[in-house]
Amino acid sequence: MPRLIALAALAASLAFSQEFKLGSKVTDFTVRDPHGSPVKFSALRGPVTVVVFTSTNCPVSNAYNERMNAVYRDYSVKGVKFIFVNANQNESADEVAAHAKSVGFVFPVYKDPNNALADRFDAQVTPETYVIDSSGTLVYHGQIDDSRNEKRVQQQALRMALDAVLAGKPLTVAETKAFGCSIKRVRRAT
């Protein structure tokens, strides 16, 4: 039992080894494209970049599929770049590609092997989003909007953040939370 408690404490400490925090610079990172090739953030980023952690089988993430397509369409034309990432270790690259095709995503979904990127952002839930401005600073962290059920949405926080960043204005809401599925991480302590 003492060993289990020690392992739990170790797992907890690993879970909170966050590197990219609100207001800090996001340095380069690597994800895998749908063909398995490594791609760097520096090659994908734009004047404003959105990182979105998604899942193939999380009902909350799937409830946002159309909303993800919509926000991608609406803001890509304004120069915003999007990096949709699947960090779940129980969802293979093939499953991610098949899911993207079946739900009609209009963007590629990258894989995050060993949830290394999720750890650097301390991403915990799907869907979860991050907005990085032109200086490379993380300026927004949180949800796409405040309800899985579209009829209950009161605040579209991601769109508000993007509108503010594109207009060069300060964000009124820089961080939000909502219920979602936990990201299925690789077990580092066994």
């Binding site: 039992m1 289990l4 408690i5 392992l7 739990a8 879970a15 089988n57 009902p59 909350v60 915990q124 839930v125 979860e128 405040d146 309800s147 899985r148 059920n149 209950r152 009161q154 939000t176 939370k177 909502a178 219920f179 979602g180 599925c181 936990s182 990201i183 299925k184 991480r185």
Partner: protein, 146 residues
Amino acid sequence: MLTFFLFFALHTVDESGFQKLVNSHKGKVVLYDFWATWCTGCREEMPKLIVLENRLKARGFELVTVSADDPEQDAEADKVLKQFHAPEPGYRKQAVKDERFINAIDPQWSGALPALFLYDRNGRKVQSFIGETDPRIIEAAVSKLL
């Protein structure tokens, strides 16, 4: 505020009601299980927690379930709780804003499910388990408090 929902076995609990719920369980070691009908990991975990409660109840351990579903899912949530013979009453969050509710439970909590919060006999939160957790780790933490 704690209220009884008329048609199902679920009680509702809002941001302020959760602390009242914790206070009403002082004297027991309590594991609050935040779950949802859409959360596969939660539905896999709950039966194991119920087994743990049945085994440790005599020593002063209680499991309290709090559904993060919307009211429209009450019938489904009730069905899951009955299927697993979950301890009664089961609760469902009643929140004007989910974010406020999440922060009221634990400001460090992202809202990811499953989420377990362990309280000691003094009504003090001592540990949280976010995401699927090895039942042995949960049992070790509970046993330490009994």
